[in-house]
């Protein structure tokens, strides 16, 4: 089974490199939590229990701005709706008992789905899902912890070192690749404008949630050209 070993090795390498790629986000998240007055345990609670990078940033960002619990949770959940789509697309490849599938479902994130989707054999897809998910889970929580501890004693440094500017940079980095696509670019700009207009008038969190309305521009209720309508 030489071929199988080679595939597995390349899957592990992919999983590790994607884990390393998200590590700076983990550091930024930990630092962000400190900046927002969130404790180490709460930061780890976000990273281990919620385990969805952009939704964690969104929720903490709403809290940091004195937004309500409901606004923070809604913003986070809207960002994680895609995990439902990932889960449905991965379901066929994830075997095992109900309990086992219930456990590994926590790993249903962009990265695990991406590593898995690069494979076509179900066994390899499963392997990619597990390695992608675990690699990100371990490194994400570890770097969150490092981010929190590195900055918890040095809160005054946050302004001095420009740590607060890493948050918009991290968000921009998250969507940068998507902006090459014209639909994503347009709804991204619309979302940004909606938020900008609403900041002075709406309570914290609402400008972000309202930006979801920008997807209406893409007219998702219409059938796409070239696809059969469903």
């Amino acid at each position: 089974m030489q071929g199988n070993d080679t595939v597995r090795r390349s899957i592990r390498a992919q999983a590790l490199s994607i884990g390393l790629a998200i590590s700076p986000f983990g550091l930024a998240f930990g630092a962000f939590c400190t900046d927002a007055g969130i404790s180490m345990w709460e930061a780890l609670g976000f990273s281990a229990l919620v385990f969805g990078g952009s939704s964690q940033f969104a929720a903490v960002s709403v809290l940091a701005d004195d937004g309500t619990v409901i606004a923070a949770v809604t913003a986070g959940l809207l960002l994680n709706l895609r995990s439902l789509a990932f889960g449905v697309s991965m379901a066929a490849s994830l075997k095992g008992s109900f309990l086992w599938r219930a456990c590994i479902s926590q790993l249903m994130i962009d990265e695990s789905t991406a590593v898995a989707s690069a494979q076509s054999v179900p066994e390899h897809r499963r392997y990619g899902y597990m390695w992608g998910g675990l690699s990100v889970f371990v490194l994400w929580n570890l770097t969150t912890l490092i981010g929190v501890s590195a900055l918890s004693e040095t809160e005054s440094l946050i302004g001095d070192l420009g740590i607060d500017a890493t948050i918009p940079a991290a968000f921009l980095g998250l969507i940068w690749g998507k902006l090459e696509d014209s639909t994503h670019r347009t709804i991204g700009v619309l979302g940004a404008l909606l938020a900008l207009i609403l900041i002075p008038f709406a309570p914290s969190g609402i400008p972000v949630i309202a930006a979801a309305g920008a997807v209406l521009w893409a007219q998702p209720w219409k059938a796409k050209k070239g696809k059969s309508s469903e």
């Binding site: 709460e42 789509a85 607060d164 918009p168 400008p207």
Partner: protein, 104 residues
């Protein structure tokens, strides 16, 4: 419970349901409407774009223009130059810090 803890509990529970519905309920036989998938995959872009704006220009529900903008512009240039993410974040922080050092 602090607000943060309440958010963690609710968001974790809701997110887990979204993650697990596929493997535990939908399985092989049930499918989501294509429309739902399209919307779910489009949603993060405007939401995160809005977060770029609020984390740059918002302070206590007011529009503010401060050194964070410098960091954002620096980050955009770094991303455009296809620099690694880690460098992008450092450049953003450094640009903002230098601006503050020079002008405040």
């Amino acid at each position: 419970m602090s607000d943060a803890t309440t958010v963690i509990v609710l968001l974790a529970a809701g997110t887990y349901c979204l993650k697990a519905l596929g493997p535990l309920y939908f399985g092989n036989s049930r499918q989501l409407p294509v429309k739902f998938q399209e919307i779910a995959l489009l949603l993060p872009t405007p939401l995160i774009a809005a977060l770029v704006v609020t984390s740059t220009f918002s302070e206590n529900n007011e529009l503010v223009l401060d050194a964070r903008v410098i960091g954002l512009v620096a980050a955009a240039i770094a991303l455009w130059k296809k620099l690694p993410f880690f460098i992008v974040v450092i450049i953003a922080a450094a640009a903002t810090a230098l601006w503050r050092l020079a002008f405040s």
